[in-house]
């Protein structure tokens, strides 16, 4: 860690810098921007068939609708989207691969006319046999979702299995898993499943695109990753990326659903054909549910062995991911699962296969947790099963095996210092003593815990940059490529700049995110931003500070060492001179109206240090986040209903730059975890979503809050983190599902292997797993 200035801003609660705008209704999201009467409206025609040849897309009737400007079909937009595997058309070409796939798009003067036109597009399908779950997709001679998949452009590390629906196969091994299993006193083997859930940002996907007279295109969109999307869209449409500028207004949540290109490429294609006119496309909630992204489904076959002393000897797992009709977005996730799929434990013998499989279902993209929530659903129940078989308390079992700093974790990597054991203890002891239920007869209470780790990647594109400008009025304007989707990145940035530079937080302003101006950053995914963008901001502030102090030292003929910046003033400890920053930099009063010739600029670029990896992986790991959650549940034996009474989170965040924001991330993640564990499932029948709306796809409401929702900050510093910080947002729902499952087992002695855990699934487990209790 570099030596940093002591601060009364960093490490303390500090209200969100953009909070006031969000609280007064003045924060503008993409649908709130005013484009005037020139604005055109687009509507998508979605496939109603999950797998079919497209025989004909007839747009003649649609074109006759008054007010219609343009209809596009696949023939007009031949591009394929993909970062590592180009397997997704912008518009369906000769076949559709999922119900909901965009087939055509209509543009009209009003949204009503666009809707009418879209409804008049006649699509002639010839149905093809489809694969609607993993078993069907992996069956011998299964119909192929991508018959020409081997011909797609792909990165060198992408490994499809020819003649199958396996789009990408990964294997990570260390030690000798057979020998490890042979050494074990107890081996448990089980299969777990996690079905599709949705990211469900409260703000639906949407954007506006416009091309100017020079052919420059601006895209305003709700996104987590403007730079990556700009490049992907440009590539798919055959544009130079310099022609496309992405502006990101306020973003109403993402959770991974807005990291990958959804409708944005289509919008740009439309704008290119309608010069000068802004074109808007905001998805309806129905479309958002049925045609954007979903979390990949998982089938996990996990075998774990331990000695009689409760020390792990081997983990052998196969993780199979249901990616839907496009695998590109799931490739990094599968890799993370292969690397971290043994859980946060010391184990010498590991073999993990992680395969990405096509089905005729909507396209999957990682959700908060980047696959770790799904993987830990399996591995953390296996740990409990082993502990039970060995008659070791589950917390004790985990502590015996928990990774510590210096442990080998495969591929030549060594675990850094971690607060994992503290997290496990603090979560377990954080549960409060509660009174036994009044009507004890038909309900049972139980407690459960799950631990987690999650890799944060520092590889491909893991550079963040920040730029600060000192304005003549003394304000400092921060440009950052990373997006604040609500997690609080901009607040953290302001705190870091204020502390490092020596100005008040009020003097620091965030510039809007604009790929034409902001420096590049990692997407708001994998929770890297506090760490990466935070470091970039810190460096930029140090750079600007050094320049200001140099100027003052020259002007005052003093040594830099005797100067400091305090609350926006350069002060000299030697001469007691004092002057405002802008006065020093530009030789003028802060109130001066004359613009200086050139603004003083601080630049900071952060590149993660190469990790000690020897496996030549395409995506080096920077570090791991760790944590644990403990829950108490009450289970109704008659109905199987599960009520979470209390939930405690404890995560190692390195150093909490803003404890309030950290606690908010933990609590918000815990509730998203609870919701995805108990309520959420996008159900399909033969590839058709049956519950695409809030009425039938239930997300947690305020009534589902546990009686207590606690969060504990654990701080073991990250050696290359800003003030020692690591991210938190992504990780805070990873252990929730297995913690609840383990608590159910503690309460009633049954195991549920499939997500979500519903009253029905618990009731069925009671019927099949429990011997009838004797009346006492």
């Amino acid at each position: 860690m570099t030596t940093l200035r002591k601060s009364n801003i960093v490490g303390r609660p500090f209200a969100r810098v953009e909070g006031q705008r969000r609280l007064t209704g003045t924060a503008r999201y993409v649908d709130d921007l005013d484009f005037g009467p020139e604005l055109l409206h687009a509507r998508i025609v979605h496939s109603t068939h999950p797998h079919a040849e497209l025989l004909h897309v007839d747009i003649t009737q649609a074109l006759a609708v008054p007010g219609v400007f343009l209809l596009l079909t696949g023939a007009d937009v031949p591009g394929m989207l993909g970062q590592q595997l180009h397997d997704r058309p912008v518009l369906a070409q000769t076949r559709v691969r999922y119900a909901g796939e965009p087939v055509a798009v209509a543009v009209a003067a009003t949204s009503e006319a666009a809707e009418r036109a879209a409804g008049l597009v006649t699509v002639t399908y010839r149905d093809l046999p489809g694969v609607y779950d993993l078993a069907a997709s992996l069956a011998p001679a299964a119909p192929l979702v991508h018959v020409d998949g081997m011909g797609y452009d792909r990165a060198a590390h992408v490994a499809p299995v020819p003649g199958t629906n396996i789009a990408h196969h990964t294997l990570q091994e260390r030690g000798d898993v057979r020998a490890g299993l042979a050494q074990a006193a107890v081996v448990v083997e089980h299969t777990y499943r996690a079905s599709s859930v949705l990211h469900v940002a409260m703000e639906p996907h949407g954007g506006v695109a416009q091309m100017d007279d020079n052919g420059q295109i601006t895209l305003w969109a709700s996104t987590q990753a403007p730079f990556a999307k700009r490049d992907l869209i440009a590539q798919a449409l055959g544009l130079g990326p310099e022609r496309l500028r992405m502006v990101t207004p306020f973003v109403g949540g993402g959770f991974g659903g807005k990291t990958h290109v959804s409708i944005e490429a289509l919008l740009v294609a439309l704008a290119m054909r309608l010069p000068g006119r802004p074109v808007k496309l905001v998805l309806s909630r129905l479309e958002d549910f049925s045609s954007t992204f979903r979390r990949p489904g998982l089938q996990a076959e996990v075998k774990v062995g331990a000695t009689a002393d409760g020390l792990l000897t081997a983990v052998e797992a196969r993780y199979i991911w249901d990616a839907g009709a496009s695998a590109d977005a799931v490739i990094d996730l599968a890799y993370a699962a292969a690397l971290a799929g043994a859980g946060p434990y010391r184990v010498a013998n590991v073999s993990i296969e992680s395969d990405v499989v096509y089905t005729n279902q909507p396209v999957a993209a990682p959700m908060r947790g980047n696959g770790m929530a799904e993987v830990h659903w399996a591995i953390e129940q296996q740990m409990d099963r082993l502990a039970a078989a060995l008659r070791i308390p589950p917390v004790e079992f985990r502590l015996r095996n928990a990774l510590r700093g210096g442990d080998a974790i495969g591929g030549g990597r060594v675990m850094h210092a971690t607060g994992l054991d503290q997290c496990i203890r603090r979560a377990a002891t954080g549960l409060r003593t509660t009174k036994a239920p009044a009507k004890a007869r038909m309900t049972r209470r139980g407690r459960g815990l799950a631990a987690m780790w999650s890799p944060v990647f520092g590889g491909r594109g893991a550079t963040a940059a920040a730029m600060l400008q000192l304005a003549p009025d003394g304000r400092v304007v921060v440009s950052l490529g990373g997006i604040d989707t609500g997690q609080g990145l901009y607040t953290i940035a302001v705190q870091l700049v204020a502390a490092t530079l020596g100005v008040s937080a009020e003097a620091v302003k965030m510039a809007p995110s604009d790929t034409g101006r902001s420096p590049a950053a990692l997407p708001a995914a994998d929770s890297p931003l506090t760490w990466s963008a935070g470091n970039a901001v810190l460096k930029a502030a140090q750079h600007l500070r050094a320049q200001i102090l140099d100027i003052a030292a020259q002007q005052w003929n003093e040594a830099v060492g005797s100067l400091d910046i305090v609350d926006g003033f350069v002060v000299s400890h030697a001469s007691t001179k004092m002057a405002a920053l802008a006065e020093v930099a530009y030789g003028m009063e802060p109130s001066s109206q004359i613009a200086p010739p050139q603004l003083l600029t601080g630049e900071g670029v952060f590149t993660a240090a190469p990790s000690a990896e020897s496996d030549g992986s395409y995506r080096p790991i920077s570090h791991f986040s760790t944590g644990a959650q403990a829950v108490e549940v009450e289970v109704d034996l008659e109905t199987g209903e599960v009520d979470v009474l209390q939930l405690v989170s404890a995560f190692d965040v390195g150093h909490a730059l803003n404890p309030d924001l950290v606690l908010s991330q933990m609590k918000g993640g815990a509730m998203q975890g609870l919701s995805t564990t108990l309520f959420e499932q996008l159900q399909f029948v033969d590839g058709i979503a049956r519950n695409p709306g809030f009425l039938d796809y239930r997300v947690a409401t305020a009534l589902d809050l546990p009686q207590t929702l606690d969060a504990v900050i654990v701080e073991v510093p990250q050696d290359d983190g800003p003030y020692g910080a690591r991210g938190i947002g992504e990780h805070s729902l990873v252990p929730t599902a297995p913690a609840i499952a383990n608590a159910i087992y503690d309460a009633i002695g049954v195991r549920v292997s499939e997500l979500p855990i519903t009253g029905e699934s618990v009731w069925r487990a009671i019927q099949t797993q429990l011997v009838p209790e004797k009346e006492s």
Partner: protein, 156 residues
Amino acid sequence: MKHEIDCIVNDQAHHLTVASHETLLCMLREQLGLTGAKNGCATGECGACSVLLNDEVVNSCLVLAVEADHATVVTVEGLADEGELSTLQQSFLDHSATQCGFCTSGMLVAATALLKQASRPDVNAVRAGLAGNLCRCTGYDDIVKAIMAASRARRT
């Protein structure tokens, strides 16, 4: 078909021409430029469009603009007083009760109504009062705490 209506929105009188099928949400956002109320689902399920119509919380996506004739409407933009946050808004800020902010307008409106109806709501009443407003970020806990604190602040 067009209709002429008179209504008071955030203490300002308006005379507006609205279409028969135009929703109150649409009128607020597109005619008056009040974009604080959000279109989260258009089917009355998420609560992001909540406004007060004659002091009652409604999903403005389910109310026709003509129903606002001779009515009083309060949106999130009307909660602050001359730029000064209301007790409730300040409490949301202090309790970190907004993250992405897309549900926040509706939450604040629902909470404002809640505190108007019950002077001393208990925690269960607050949770029940927010049941029609979905939030994906906060997990509700900070929101409930902010409302409880605002209700205590108001009593003193």
